[in-house]
Amino acid sequence: MSIIVPNLVEIRDLHFAYGPRSILSGLRMDFPRGKVVAVMGGSGSGKTTVLRLIGGQLRPVSGSVSVDGQIVHKLNSRELYQMRRTMGMLFQHGALFTDLTAFDNVAFPLRENTDLPEELIRDLVLMKLHAVGLRNAARLKPAEISGGMGRRVALARAIALDPQLIMYDEPFAGLDPISMGVTANLIRNLNDALGSTSILVTHDVHECFAIADYVYFLSAGKIVAGGTPDEMLASTHPYVKQFVNAEADGPVPFHYPGKSLADDLGLGVAR
């Protein structure tokens, strides 16, 4: 990676498995400060697992993840929660608290993690909601707003504590094109305005390439390619080509591996 700014997150020789099933193997990734780095790959390639390892919700089998110089899996519970207060995460479906209004959802991390007076929390929450265009929806509950709006409220909540690292898990999934464009611009603009580092896990090529500084391609738990969006568009790597051009068949087969159709229909070699 040809970026010379220091890394906020470094992943070294990372292996992770659920029991005997290997999910990630030998991962090495850098996430430089102030940049938007995308992690792309098909479903089940281990993208979300990378985020959960960075957030300390999973422990690696071997290797390390360091955030701001701290090895995540070596932190004790108190230190881990302390570190998470410097992170924000946008979950795939928002994960808003359904019994709270948009305002209270955004206020939640401020009320829980700071001793700020309620008047100041109110102003901060309204500013965060204003940043995502939903100041006037502050009193609505998650059930009363659309999926795209919910995602933006969750984004406002993720940046409530001005985190140095923001992680996005499939932020564009299930959004209409307008909401997708709005969300993509918000991710870029908020990253630049807050001076944060953003990790974007997605498989939406168009939006991702428009805002990312660097892109990693992950397949079957391994990094198969990495570079700037322009480099990836010009890449001749078969996996990147298949993914970027949305080709049905290629290194990622269309059919789930197993017996052939002829075998299943009993049309194989005659006995």
Partner: protein, 260 residues
């Protein structure tokens, strides 16, 4: 064949021990998280309001009918021996020692327990607990511990309400409907009910049931897989395990408390 059987027993034993260890660890975590609630008692009082309110109506109505049935059945039985004057004592002892704590706990498990299991399970399925963790907020401190203590506090209060309403039910049927002497009804009760042996033991039982029901409900919800089937299964398990645990604990405590 025998090897398969032994292997199955071994797997079952290993899972049982692992689950028990996991449950004990979770229980200790909830207890260790309880200190932080002293700084934020509002978290407990809010839950106390929800949990208590959710169960109040069913507890009150059930208490009234249980007391009325006790008054009726007690009168029929005592009348055979000419001892209907002792009806108040019979109703009061039955309710304070056994029916109050036990029936309240069973109703509490069915009403508040299942609701808590489903709530926690759905919070998990909706990644709300994960989101909380990622905000640097420990869900055991913020979600489980306040609900646990709210339930433990609510149980003896609800059992007291159940018992009091039950006695009123017994009075309505025995005195007002059948015509047992009112003075005898209350004075026999006053003389025969011991504040420590009967009332305090009943309160102690209800606190123990509260601890058991709340822990089972919260643990089942927290342990549920984030799928509709498992959240539904966890809700059922809460009722089944809580009910069996209540009966077992009741027998053990009764044997210890009232043995000569």
């Amino acid at each position: 064949m025998i090897l398969d059987l032994l292997a199955s027993i071994g797997i079952w034993l290993r899972h049982s021990v692992a689950n028990l260890g996991f449950a004990v660890r979770a229980f200790l975590k909830i207890l260790s998280a309880s200190g932080s609630l002293l700084r934020r008692p509002r978290l407990v009082t809010e839950q106390l309001h929800f949990i208590g309110n959710r169960s109040l109506l069913i507890i009150t109505v059930s208490g009234l009918f249980v007391g009325m049935v006790l008054g009726l059945q007690g009168y029929y039985t005592l009348n055979k021996y000419g001892s209907e004057q002792a009806l108040g004592l019979l109703v009061a002892l039955s309710l304070t020692r056994e029916l109050g704590p036990v029936v309240t706990a069973l109703l509490f498990a069915g009403r508040a327990g299942t609701s808590l299991t489903a709530e926690i399970g759905l919070m998990k399925a909706g990644e709300q607990l994960s989101a909380m963790e990622m905000m640097g907020v420990n869900p055991i401190h913020r979600v489980l511990a306040p609900r646990f203590w709210a339930g433990v506090i609510a149980m003896p209060i609800l059992a007291a309400i159940f018992t009091a309403v039950g006695i009123i039910g017994g009075y309505l049927v025995g005195v007002q409907l059948i015509g047992v002497d009112e003075g005898a009804f209350w004075s026999q009760m006053q003389n025969g009910v011991d504040i420590w042996k009967d009332i305090a033991n009943g309160v102690f039982k209800s606190v123990v049931f509260g601890i058991a029901v709340m822990f089972i409900a919260l643990f089942q919800g927290y342990q549920a897989q984030p799928t509709p089937e498992d959240v539904a299964g966890a809700t059922t398990r809460t009722v089944v395990i809580s009910s069996l645990m209540i009966w077992w604990l009741d027998f053990m405590m009764t044997a210890l408390m009232f043995s000569k």
